[in-house]
Symmetry: C3
Subunit: 244 residues, 3 copies
């Protein structure tokens, strides 16, 4: 394999976001894209990351499957400069990352044994779909985190409601079709999700200006960032279901 990109930072941003939830996982180098999917250690959320071959100037792959510690990988990716070219190759069962700028700097990381079978992405069908500016959702999640550790998403008619109730404080935000930043919405449903996980998923916000939420009543949430034809980053999060 040999991969060369002039845009190491978009790859760093995507893997940093995955690294908020996942500690290690396998990258599969397929013909059209590098694919990564993994479940977080608690089994509550899943990351499905696709880095399309258009990110690379040179993309020579052969179906390799590279299992890496994400924390180590991210530390190295952070050392790339904005103007560096990054080359990825294999050397004696290690991943070699070479940054070519003023000087040539190389890092190598060991491949690790995969923990188990590759994770399957569950087949999900959603009744609700909301597309909105990343900034709007990020603010709402910070707001809600002031008062509670979980947030309720409720879509009905022409209103998308984001609500949180804590021991003593409450928060609510209402979006309708006239709200700047709300791009589209359709469906009806209501479910509750962990703000801790959602906050980590918002760390990917530099990847795209808008994102798409999909959910149904008391059902998983899917949160998707699309960076044009370069990166597709999907998070799936189990709902919190409370007996009432």
């Amino acid at each position: 394999m040999r991969l060369v990109t002039s845009n190491p930072s978009i790859i760093k941003n995507a893997i940093e976001a995955a690294g908020e939830l996942i500690t290690e996982g396998s990258f599969v180098l397929e013909k059209d894209a590098i694919r990564f999917r993994a479940m977080d250690p608690a089994g509550v959320s899943m990351v499905v990351l696709t880095i399309f071959n258009s990110v690379f100037d040179v993309y020579e792959v052969n179906g390799e499957n590279l299992t890496l510690n994400l924390e180590d990988l991210i530390k190295v990716l952070r050392r790339a400069k904005a103007t560096d070219k990054m080359e990825l190759t294999m050397e004696e069962n290690r991943l070699k990352l070479t940054f070519k700028g003023n000087a040539i700097r190389s890092f190598s990381l060991p491949l690790i044994e995969p923990l188990g079978e590759s994770q399957k992405v569950p087949e999900l069908e959603f009744k609700c779909k909301v597309e909105l500016d990343v900034e709007v959702l990020r603010d709402a999640i910070k707001d809600a985190s002031m008062v509670s550790d979980a947030v309720t998403l409720e879509l009905s008619g022409n209103t998308f409601l984001i609500k949180a109730s804590g021991d003593s404080q409450e928060f609510s935000m209402e979006l309708n079709k006239d709200t700047p930043g709300l791009i589209s919405m359709e469906g009806e449903g209501k479910a509750k999700y962990s703000l801790d996980y959602l906050g980590k998923m918002m760390k990917a916000s530099s990847l795209a200006d808008s994102l798409t939420l999909r959910f149904s009543t008391d059902y998983p949430l899917q949160l998707e960032y699309k960076a044009l034809d370069k990166i597709d980053l999907v998070f799936i999060l189990a709902p919190r279901i409370e007996s009432e």
Copy 2:
């Protein structure tokens, strides 16, 4: 009651400054202004805050007395954006704060039981008065904090002296009528005050460019910020009196 302001940040700044010393207290909504006064838990300092009705576009009050946890209130006020309108209303014995920007976001906070009688502001007469740029005093207090935990203010003739002595280090700063940043001074006196408290009082420095100090020998200090006709924030601080 119903209050609407286009300037939530000036209110946030004033209450943040009070919150450095005070954990909870009562806001009384009088005809001309919202008044807040409270003593810090140690009984060493007092905050007297007046937010005039000119800060508000809509100011409908009826003498309400709202006791709130300042820390919770400040967390919510920090979520306002610079361009948001903020509306304050009551809803089922809770204070509702609504931020209207691109989206409409609402928080509600419970009223709490007041701890005791409303604090009376002591009647004080001061022999010394110094008006100076906020920045000059803030620097002097940081300087003095390098060497000690208390500072001596000494006004005599045409010199205002700020001094501190630590175990091994010493600091002094001398201001006279030619010092840029010193606006006016009159009186004679000398007293010592806690730098920890003074440092917290300087957190309000974004409210105004200048402030007024009033004190007398071995007597409380009064530190006053005036933000035009919008905010008046007064701190009162007990002196440190040392047997020599």
Copy 3:
């Protein structure tokens, strides 16, 4: 003695860098320069700092020897503003630092008893010499710190190699005469040094744009910053020698 400078920040930067390794030491005020040399408490590194009299507008000295706690001195130097004039005088066996800007602010620090004899600078002869941009070395040291706690410098022929190996990760950087940022190199040799110490030595990087490394195989390293005719800051660092 009486010293006056319009450039307190260059002195602050140099002493801050020394303070990363040294907690106290003696400044000797000689005719042409102030000289400071001290060994770090672990005896692994040495700092030799020369502040030439050209830094000062007034330079009246008499061979004084001032032993000071560097941490206290640095705290005070940090309080100088960019536009302040700084005056240094002695007052009753204390060093008095006066900052003259809008106001006149004075600090005084006690002299302390020197711990022992003045440190002699070892006579060293080096086989390798590399002159390079500060930024290039600083990056390499940060890179290497990602993977290990020690770095190997290797100069041979026309290549200067900076390498580090950790438990699982590896880093290497190769510089040759075509690398922008490499100014000159000569000699052959290879030695290993602590990244913790090197990282602290890089804190002086605001003093100069380039620096000179001198070393030999399994021999101390000398790292020198020259700020024109104002400051000369030399660090000496013992090698790590490993039985193989």
